[in-house]
């Protein structure tokens, strides 16, 4: 499923980023890569979605819906993190 479709407040693992190089560069600058664990905090119908990385502090990121639709994630249980 895509990050856009993913449920809120569930641990997620990024498995693929189906975008061009520029978007991948921007994501990697924010340390969002394949195999990274995240949680979707807010997924509004209107506006960007808000995510937080699971392993580190309290960093939050806003991702536009178009880009979130290109990030493929899978649900995972907390033990696997």
């Amino acid at each position: 499923m895509t990050l856009l479709q993913a449920p809120e407040n569930v641990p997620l693992k990024i498995t693929e980023i189906k975008s061009g190089i520029e978007i991948k560069k921007q994501l990697s600058n924010l340390d969002l890569y394949i195999t990274e664990y995240i949680i979707k905090l807010k997924g509004a119908r209107f506006g960007p979605i808000l995510i937080q990385k699971l392993k580190e502090g309290n960093e939050k990121f806003a991702i536009g819906q178009g880009i979130a639709d290109k990030i493929i994630v899978e649900s995972c249980n907390e033990k696997s993190i």
């Binding site: 394949i34 309290n58 960093e59 178009g66």
Partner: protein, 656 residues
Amino acid sequence: MKNQYNNLQIHNISNRSDTFGKTIAIIGLPQSGKSTIFRLLTDMKSHGYDATFEVTEAETKIKNKKIKIVDLPGIQSLSSSQFSEKIAINYLLNNKIDLIINIIDSTNLVRGLKLTVELLDLGIPVIICLNFQDEAQKRGIIINKTILSKELGCLTISLTARSGNGIQELVNLIENSLELCPPYAKPFQYSQDIEQHIRELEQVITETNINVYYNPRFYAIKAIENPTNIPKFSHPQINKIINELEDKITQQLNQEPFEFISQIRHSYATELANNVIHISKNRIPFQDRMDALISHPIIGYIVFFAVLLLFFVCIFFVGNFLASLIDPILASIGRSFAPLEKSSPFLWASINGAYQGILGALGIVLPYFLPLVLLTSLLEETGYMSRVVLLIDGLMHKIGLHGKSILPFMLGMGCSVPALYATRMLENPRDRIMTAILIPFIPCSARLTVIFALAAALTGPFWAVIILLYIMLLIGIISKILSRIMPSSSGLIMEIVPLKFPSFKNSFIKTWLKIKDFLGDALIFLILGGIVLGWVQYFNISSIFDIMFSPIVSGLLDLPEKLGSTLVFGFLRKELVLVMTYQALGVSTLSNLPMTLSQVIVFIIFVCLYFPCLSTFIVLWKEFKWKIAISSAIFSLFIATISSFIFKILLNLIYI
């Protein structure tokens, strides 16, 4: 303002020297506090804006050693393709740096260290400054500097730049680093595979004698990560090695080389941060609880509109109050040279012109400018702006932009010039151009002053609100039309920085710097403009400008023809329009203007929308070339005329 850090043995060099000593670069992630440290190290030689999107240099003297300190725009990586970050990267690649002061937000250690690891590849000494110690303490974060220094081979210091705590220690470290040979940081070691390719590339770079400032290793890594950033390395042998590595990484890991290398650095930074951080208390800080509230999908909007309303109400009332304090003093000065009008008319016209300029700057502009810049500085300090991006992104998409454009727009309420520079933070050229075309329509402090001053004297706050709402609606419509013409946007990716308590001391310093800039720059413009208009009236040549603008001013908009000449001066600075209106219509206070309510409103609309001011026009030209600058100027004149005409018709219908 007397510098409170004079005892730090740092002095300015007043005369520029051709031969610099050493060069120190201040580098860090955006919003890590670089400019605050730059201001402290350079005796406040800086503008007051927080968001820095250009390279700022200043000369300083530390213990009789001349040094150049460079404040670079915030960067997330030395391989970034973002416009403002490329400016920093290009500077680093094309100038020799002797020492790096790497600023890290202590509450965001992992991301800060990831950049540090990248900086180590340059092979030059690095001093790590762990900034925002006050915020770290509130969160119970304790960082072991000894382990950090040992692991990275760098000197490390913790400080709170916004309160000035720890700056003296930083100065001492810089002194020591310049006097003694500072430790050279050890470059970070990647995996064996990558290291082999790095070594091969290093060898080719050394053999081909390409002129480089730093370690060949750094250029080898950059060539793998983002070869476009260093075009001089397009060598067949280099390309062959890069392609081999790219194929290997893509096949084995389904990743681009830059992603893979970035991930290795990130893993190391995470591991290192875990080793050096100790959390002494595990409670949710007040700021995080506030954050949940102001980022809430419903309450967040209520807070946003409340903040916006409070912002404008404060400016309006504080501005009125300050103006009422200054007015009597300026009026008594005005009476002192009144007898000259009959005895020496030319001298009187010159003195009166200069006086009108001072009156405009101190009596009209300053009272509204002061609360505006102070409130903007306080908001910038808190990190609230990135929440606004989050809230407003959906709405911005409706008008064809994405949320990040709101930051240049908000800065534009202070001044269009830094707002235009702030468009450098937008990754997509289409978003940059669209935002730049719209910025001249955002009411800057000068235009807000025109609106507030005329509204306070003649129309009341209701019409000020209507005019501001109309301008916002207009910006939305223009943006929507432009988005239909231009290709679609790439979308938003943005870090939401943690909320921080604003530092009043830092905000007051920044406000002072902005006011100083304004008084140094605008006051001269206003005085000279006032004198020239005084002469224009004395020699009775204002009628030429009046006739030139009469088809629009009196023909289309039914305004007094004499206002035509004021618009010419408004191009120099928008505040001049007010001063010139005084003179052109021969009144001493705004409330005596011989204009009807409809005429005042139509005039405000026209002044707020027509032609960007000279400074904005120059920056538009510099940043976006002449086509955009001239198109923007003609477009704004067209929009101003149409808008004022529509208001004239509507107001005539209402008031007849």
